[in-house]
Structure formats: structure tokens, C-alpha cells
């Protein structure tokens, strides 16, 4: 029954968006993290979505193909008294851009809501279909 496929399609999208939200949460949590002794700071991560073809023509779910790390240069501040400062007195922070992450979060949450809405509609249509002829 093809209506059930909608739950699969939207379910895959909801789970992909949830993973995106997870990554955003991790980025925001590490926004102020400074580099450890090895000099490597946290790098912002981003999910990459990919279409997951379904059984029927025209149906396609979505999955997270890859989680990439940002190559943006790390933020460095001059704080000679900071315990993590290097020999020149600079502290290396993560390269997370909080504004970008907030926008990403809003976008992910809207997409999540949209797909939940789609599932609700499909569910109510199916419930009405099984009452057909009564």
C-alpha cells in the first residue's frame, strides 16, 4: 500500500534532520572550546544529505551521506595569561560560527516540522481509508 511509503519517506527525512540538529547542537556546545595541548581546536561539522531512492518511481527518502569538518581557519585571540596560550601568547578557539549554526538549527527544525506534518496528514488519510464503505 503506497500510503505507508509516505511514513517511510518522511521518517527518513525526520531522522536525517534530527541528525543535522544533533550536529548543530554539538557545534554550538563546542563554540567556545579552546585548543588542547596539541594545538588542534574543535572543527565545525556539517551533514551532507543524499537522496535515497524508493521502490516506486518518484518516491525518494533522504539519508545523511557524510559529516564533513569545516576547513575555516580557527579563531585566534591574543590572551597571554590564558593557560592554553601558545608560545606567542595566542589562544586557538574552535572555528564554529554561532550565527551560522543558529540559522542552520532553525532551518533543520522547520524541515523537521514539515515532515512531521506530512506524516500526520498521511496518517489521517489512511485512517479515513480504512473506514471506507462504512
Amino acid at each position: 500500500m503506497s500510503m505507508f511509503n509516505i511514513l517511510g519517506v518522511s521518517g527518513s527525512a525526520v531522522s536525517a534532520q534530527a541528525q543535522r540538529l544533533n550536529v548543530v547542537a554539538s557545534n554550538l556546545a563546542n563554540a567556545d572550546a579552546v585548543a588542547g595541548p596539541d594545538g588542534k581546536a574543535y572543527k565545525a561539522r556539517q551533514v551532507l544529505f543524499q537522496t535515497l531512492p524508493g521502490n516506486d518511481p518518484g518516491t525518494a527518502g533522504v539519508k545523511v551521506r557524510h559529516i564533513s569538518e569545516s576547513d575555516a581557519p580557527a579563531r585566534r585571540t591574543f590572551e597571554p595569561n590564558h593557560p592554553s596560550a601558545d608560545a606567542e601568547g595566542y589562544v586557538t578557539h574552535s572555528n564554529v560560527n554561532p550565527v551560522e549554526e543558529m540559522v542552520n538549527m532553525i532551518s533543520a527544525s522547520r524541515s523537521y516540522q514539515n515532515n512531521v506534518e506530512v506524516m500526520n496528514t498521511a496518517k489521517s488519510l489512511m485512517l479515513k481509508t480504512i473506514q471506507m464503505g462504512q
Binding site: V9, D56, G58, T59, A60, N114, A122, G133
Partner: protein
Amino acid sequence: MLEQLNARLDTLSSSLQLRSARQQVLASNIANVDTPGYVARDIDFGAALENALTGKVRRPLEQTNVRHLTVTSTDGLIGNPLAYTVQTQPSLDGNSVDLDQQRANFTDNAIRYESTLRFINGHVKTMLSAITGQ
């Protein structure tokens, strides 16, 4: 006599199946709103229903005897050629889903699905009152 009763139900059931297939395609579009390179698709409902009703995509059972029942399979109903939607706002990642349009189409299709269901229910009630003869 029975054929007359069934003919209308046939049209309605084809319509219902097509609506369900379209709902699935629209759900896929909404699910892939953030997937790079995804191309939005849709079903031309009018043309698809005409194909289904005129038997263009139906594969009737082979009849080797005139007394065989005429049974048509609705299997190929979804095999109608899917079309690509017109891109309203070009995006850098090659995604052609217009979310507002898709949401509107999804709601529109859901309402039409439900109205088709009501037509079927009404038809069933009519037939029931006809065969009870009261």
C-alpha cells in the same frame, strides 16, 4: 446492471490510487527539501487519470475464451511518466524544490483524496440502498 454500478466505482478507485501515488511523490519532494541536487517531481493528474481510464497503462488479462471475465489490472497506474516541476527560484546546490508550492500541493492533494473517499462512501451507500430495496 452490476457493470453500471461498478463503472463509477472503477473511475473513483483509479482516481484514489493516483491521488495516493501523487501524495507519495509530494512527500518525497518535501523530504528532500535540503538535499543538494534533488529535482522535484510531480504527476500530471489529469493526464494520468485519462491514461488509466482509457486503459493505456492497464494490462488487461489475456482472454482466450469469450466467456472469460474481463479483469483489468491497475498495476501500471503508477507507471505513468513523472514530470519535473518548474523551478521557481534557482539555487546554488541544484535543488529545485519550492517548499511553499509543495506544501500547498500536498494539502490540495490530501483534500482531493479525502473527497474522492467521500464520493466512494456515498456511492457505496447508494448501492446498498439500491440492493436492499427499501
